[in-house]
Symmetry: C2
Subunit: 180 residues, 2 copies
């Protein structure tokens, strides 16, 4: 898949109503009435805040993990996905100074990032946007979609990840919950 | 090191005189009299062509390789580095669809990318800029600096890399040679 640029615009318009904007670590983002997720958008839309990212190749998963994910991960935009979350994260300088083998070890062998995620598929659909190379205040923007009946499962998923060793390297995280 | 954005501008001004612009694979870039390498530049300078990138964390090297590189890699801007090369590269969709373990295996276990590079240090100073996540026509912009006496060594380096299995995945490459 070619990289797809995305623009998240929080403001007066957008498909999603913003239910809450909670700081998990570090500075929050301002609240706003609605959120638009604009994939492939060119140009520079203004909002109360905007975050820019892009899909990219996977940085840590092995071939076996990639196939396991591909077999069960659902598409975005399912009719019953009335709930979603945008979770922007910035990791620390310490994380980025690690070598690839060290980051991989923390990501999967210690934190089970892929294994945890797999247990919540296909209930939770997910798309990861990268933004570290674009500058801006975050390194990743993760977008999750799920049905109302899976709301508790989704809380379990983010709870598990936040308790993992990988999250020791997260220095800013905001949890934006939306619905439609 | 925090990511440093860079803008390469080929046009009427710049510290470097462009000696030749050679297409290695795929479409070339237009020739121009001079090249400017502007690190940290904001905004949107126009030239005959401009390429934008950013330094980023290493994607493949292990801790041991990172330390080995750090021990011998020289700084840019040495007084006797009167020769330089800007080599923009785009890799194929096939490369980017590989999983991390497959890309690593081709990069080092098969192609000896780090081992080859190490043999030419400290003669050749190098800085890798990433640009795949930024959009644009290339995935990487590599900048090399060396003294006139090391010009043959530099040809050996690029020759070795171009003969490696990793280069089967290169679908566009331009070799811009400059001097001052």
């Amino acid at each position: 898949m070619d990289p797809i640029p995305v623009l998240f615009v929080a403001g007066a318009v957008g498909d999603w109503r913003i239910d809450r904007v909670a700081p998990v670590r570090g500075e929050a983002l301002p609240s706003a009435p609605r959120l638009a997720r604009l994939e492939g958008a060119q140009g520079d839309l203004r909002g109360i805040w905007t975050l820019r990212g892009t899909t990219s190749h996977e940085r840590y998963v092995t071939r076996a993990e990639k196939e396991a994910l591909r077999a069960v991960q659902p598409a975005l935009g399912r009719a019953d996905s009335t709930h979603a979350a945008l979770i922007p994260v910035r990791k620390s300088k310490e994380w980025w100074d690690l070598a690839q083998d060290e980051r991989r070890r923390i990501f999967e062998e210690q934190s089970r990032h892929v294994s945890i995620g797999l247990r919540y598929l296909p209930a939770v659909a997910r798309r990861l946007y990268h933004c570290r190379d674009l500058g801006g205040p975050f390194d990743f923007l993760t977008w999750f979609e799920y049905a109302e009946r899976d709301a508790d499962r989704f809380e379990e998923l983010v709870g598990e990840l936040r308790r993992s060793p990988e999250w020791d390297y997260v220095e800013r995280e905001v949890d934006v919950r939306v619905s439609r």
